[in-house]
């Protein structure tokens, strides 16, 4: 207690909060005066008394110093003094200091930004109470089953969800949700809105708190009520509390707003949610009532909360038991349930394990690139600092000559680096904040990112980067600079001649290192960019322009299946009769999902899993796909005629042409079992299920009358307005709605994250190259200036220009060459050791892609050469007389 009090007071003393220097001085002087008075009383003369008092008291300065040492913490004060001195000496070389700070800030800022993004996407917990107890359930299916997928194959059907809700004990609650785009009719405008259709217990399971009003409860399950996000409340309602009780018309259904979620919550997925609607009301209202009964339709995402005492493992075991009982009702299907933490990475964008591995791999590479950029920036700063240290050699020599210990001087120089690094870290952090604040809404990030503030991990990372930078870029120049012979340094100008110039070797390796690292970095980012471009090459097999999908929403209850069929038929008729339109029907339009089926050829002993779709004769012509073999569907075809894609044909019969006339057995939902049909046509393998992925084996069945209610139109129309007019006319007066979506927009938006990642890597590579080039430029420029005398002598003795140039940039070119050789070596080793690890993220581009290698080496060589040549030209202009006079 006493010690703590004393320590605190001393700390306060360091800040001059207790005794001031003047007070100390006054106290000691009064002591001295009293001492002199005492001597005068004893009979000494004034002068004698004063000198006797002085003799007894001792040196006022040294007593005061002992006093002051006790007042504060001497080491702390020394550090503060060093910092003040550092700031002063950095101000003296302002340009150099600013460029060092900028270079370091760039490195720290970029690294911090990338780490923050990666952290946010990969590891940040959901902003929920006890977020680590929130789990996500996903399915993995095997065996023979007939399943349609509207979303992802890992999603649940509604009956499956109900079974889990009724049975589970390891979870305190299981909630299902489905995120969809919807249209909000707001003040006479149609406004797209991100809706989540949720089970009534959704907010309860996640334990979300309301910012205003109340959230959905079990009692609201059948009521047309809505909960809105804080963001929508702010942006569309100006945070008006009167929003509670207001009505929202969403896709022709009115909902009463009952509450606003807390600010940090915008759903559990990467895609944020604006409005939450009860599933039992919203799904039928959107014309999908059959989803609530269909046991073989994957469409619901499922989250749960672990019960007290339960673990991920016990929940998974229990889920396995439930899955088995479910499979018993669906012979042939083998279901596995994966229970995982509901971190952001598990959700939305990345739904399968392989997606996740890919994302983590890509993220790790990006973070590694950032670390390397930081390394290059620091070594650049080190080179600049070294140049500064060489220039300060005389000053350092004087300090050592008058008795400063070498360690003390190193300490002083390191303090300067630390001041630089921390200023740079602050600038970098500012940079990072600005970048994230301004770009957050462009990225697929959790909703809370629109008000990004650096949190503890981010701050910790930035300071760690600064400390690492200090050690890395400060230590070598400091140790080097203090290795001086004071006598020699004071006697002559410190710059030597030729290759023995101080710091030449250290500089050589700094340049070589930078070149090697930026070569590797450029190569990797080039490869990544090529890989991503490769993956993004949208090669659907059909043109996307002017292609739309129209889906009819007919509220259930008010109209019968016959009404709906009738509506579809009328719409078909009017679409067909409009000029300039191509129209087709499919139960699954492109890039919405896929159907799963099982099929086998006559010669095969067991079935294999295939995708399927049901289409009408207009579908392929509308897409612009012509047959590889056989014919297209015709009116009147039934389930005994099927079309397969080239992939299925090759897999089953070895050849597209051989498939025609063959029989194939598949699950027919209308026949409630297997049936056999004849292949009448083969179409090319398209990319119509997932963007950028060629379809698997695909079975196309003709669409029948009973399928019409669930069908969507695929239309190619030059004018979207005309299309909207057409559907508007048709649905006017009915309670149905037609939703038109551009397939091209759908494809483009799904490739956004990958495009962003690719752009990011290229940007990083270019930044690195620029920083490295600036480093080489600075080093060569410095060497030209410090070797002016030597060059002058050469010129005076009649050396030709080529020789002068060689003297100046010869060593830099050698360093660049060494660096390039090392870079290629590192890539070779990396290719051998890491090819397996790199493979999934390179999307089929080899790690030593000769094109990428050649281009990168040429670009790097050109830019580095230019960076060395430009300052070297100044050497050619050296006037020998000027140079010699300055000697």
């Amino acid at each position: 207690m006493k010690a703590i009090r004393a320590a605190l007071l001393r700390l306060a003393g360091s800040l001059r909060l207790t005794r001031s220097d003047a007070e100390i001085d006054e106290e000691l002087r009064s002591h001295m005066t009293m001492l002199a008075e005492q001597y005068r009383h004893a009979g000494l003369s004034d002068a004698d008394a004063r000198s006797a008092a002085g003799a007894k008291f001792g040196s006022l300065a040294s007593v005061a110093e002992a006093y002051r040492d006790r007042r504060g913490v001497p080491t702390l004060e020394q550090v503060a003094h060093d910092c003040r001195y550092a700031a002063r000496s950095l101000r003296q070389t302002r340009i150099l200091s600013v460029s060092m700070i900028l270079v370091l800030a760039l490195g720290i800022g970029v690294a911090t930004t990338l780490v923050t993004l990666f952290h946010a996407v990969a590891f940040r917990a959901l902003p929920l109470p006890d977020a680590d107890r929130v789990v996500k359930l996903s399915l993995s299916l095997a065996g023979d089953f007939d399943r349609r997928v509207e979303g992802h194959v890992s999603h649940f059907s509604y009956p499956e969800l109900t079974l889990y809700q009724e049975t589970t004990r390891a979870l305190t609650g299981v909630a299902g949700f489905r995120q969809e785009r919807a249209t909000w009719f707001h003040g006479g405008n149609r406004r797209p809105i991100a809706a989540a259709l949720v089970t009534a217990n959704y907010f309860n399971v996640l334990q979300v708190r309301p910012a205003s009003g109340r959230l959905l409860t079990d009692a609201d399950g059948q009521q047309p009520v809505a909960v809105i996000s804080h963001r929508l409340w702010r942006d569309a309602f100006g945070q008006d509390p009167a929003v509670i009780g207001a009505s929202m018309l969403i896709d022709r259904q009115g909902y009463t707003v009952i509450g606003v979620t807390e600010r940090s919550f915008a759903g559990t997925e990467v895609d944020t949610v604006d409005v939450w609607l009860p599933l039992a009301v919203a799904v039928p209202a959107r014309g999908n009532a059959q989803r609530l009964v269909d046991a073989s339709l994957s469409w619901l995402q499922v989250v749960g909360r672990l019960a007290p005492g339960a673990s991920l493992k016990s929940a998974a075991v229990e889920a396995g038991v439930i899955a088995t009982s479910y499979d018993a009702m669906h012979p042939g299907q083998r279901t596995t349930v994966v229970v995982s933490h509901a971190a952001a990475l598990d959700a939305g964008l990345l739904q399968s394990a392989s997606d996740r591995t890919k994302a983590i791999g890509l993220g790790a590479v990006v973070v590694a690139l950032a670390a390397v950029l930081l390394l290059i920036c620091t070594s650049n700063a080190a080179a600049l600092l070294l140049a500064r240290a060489v220039a300060r050699q005389q000053e350092i020599a004087i300090r050592i000559a008058i008795g400063a210990g070498r360690w003390r001087v190193v300490q002083q120089l390191m303090t300067e680096s630390a001041v630089l690094a921390f200023v740079a870290a602050a600038v970098g952090l500012g940079l990072c904040t600005v970048v994230l604040r301004t770009t957050a809404h462009l990225l697929p990030l959790p909703g809370y990112f629109d008000r990004f503030v650096p949190d503890l991990p981010v701050l910790a990372f930035a300071s760690l980067a600064a400390v690492a930078a200090t050690v890395f870029f400060g230590a070598a120049p400091a140790v080097y600079a203090t290795r001086v012979d004071p006598l020699a340094a004071l006697k002559q100008d410190a710059s030597g001649l030729g290759e023995r110039m101080p710091g030449a070797r250290l500089r050589h390796w700094l340049v070589a290192g930078q070149v090697a690292v930026s070569l590797v970095l450029l190569l990797i980012s080039g490869l990544l960019a090529r890989g991503v471009q490769h993956a993004l090459k949208v090669n659907t097999g059909f043109p996307l322009t002017n292609l739309y999908a129209i889906t009819l929403d007919v509220p259930a209850g008010k109209s019968t299946a016959a009404d709906r069929e009738d509506l579809v038929r009328r719409l078909t008729l009017s679409l067909h009769s409009s000029p300039g339109l191509d129209v087709g029907l499919a139960i699954i339009p492109p890039f919405v999902g896929s159907g799963l089926n099982h099929a086998r050829a006559a010669h095969m002993s067991s079935t294999v899993q295939v995708h399927f779709n049901k289409v009408d004769p207009g579908y392929f012509p509308t897409l612009g796909v012509s047959n590889v073999a056989g014919r297209s569907f015709r009116a009147g075809d039934d389930r005994s005629q099927v079309i397969v894609n080239a992939r299925l044909a090759r897999g089953f019969w070895g050849d597209e042409r051989a498939a025609i006339g063959q029989s194939v057995t598949f699950i027919d939902d209308t026949a409630n079992g297997f049936r056999t049909g004849t292949v009448v046509g083969v179409v090319p393998t398209l990319e119509s299920v997932d963007v950028g992925v060629p379809d698997g084996p695909m079975l196309y069945l003709p669409i029948l009358d009973e399928d019409l209610t669930g069908a969507s139109f695929v239309v190619r129309s030059r004018s979207r307005q005309a299309l909207d007019r057409l559907t508007g006319n048709l649905t006017r007066g009915t309670d149905a709605a037609a939703g038109t979506a551009s397939i091209e927009e759908r494809v483009v938006s799904s490739t956004q994250p990958a495009r962003f990642a690719s752009a990011m890597t290229v940007l990083l590579g270019v930044l690195t190259l620029l920083v490295a080039a600036a480093g080489v430029y600075g080093i060569v420029a410095h060497s030209v200036v410090s070797r002016t005398h030597e060059i002058g002598i050469h010129v005076a003795l009649g050396a030709p220009r080529a020789r002068v140039l060689r003297i100046v940039i010869g060593s830099s070119i050698r360093a660049i060459g060494t660096g390039a050789a090392f870079g290629i070596l590192i890539m070779l080793i990396g290719a051998v050791v890491g090819s397996e690890a790199l493979e999934p993220i390179l999307f089929g581009v080899g790690p030593l892609d000769p094109l990428a290698l050649g281009v990168v080496v040429c670009i790097l060589g050109g830019i580095m050469g230019a960076a060395a040549y430009l300052p070297a030209r100044r050497a050619l202009g050296v006037e020998p007389i000027d140079a010699l006079r300055r000697l």
Binding site: R10, L28, S30, M34, A55, V63, R70
Partner: protein
Amino acid sequence: MTQPAHDGKQDKTEVWQGTLALMVLTTLEALGAQHGFGIARRIEQTSGDRLSVNPGTLYPTLLKLEQEGSITSKWGVSENGRRARFYQLTRAGRKQLADETRQWETTSDIVARFLAAARVR
């Protein structure tokens, strides 16, 4: 804190820091509020001028005691009308003095016994 003895009288012993704190506390208990010069003078007189108090040791000791809360200080006017900083015992200081006196007595008692035993042998 090594300070050269400037007074030239080499026979005087310099007070060592550990015991100085105890002497300061005893002096303040005896005299009440007192300034640095008065404390030094009193200690030297009490020792029969066998001790010399070095200001370079005294003032840091006073400051240390103050930081630890055993004494407080404030500016005042001396008997000769001079401005000086006066030090005074706090309650915690009185307790510390009692503790340290007891401890010191025990220590010196033990050491005395050892010395007596050595003399007997």
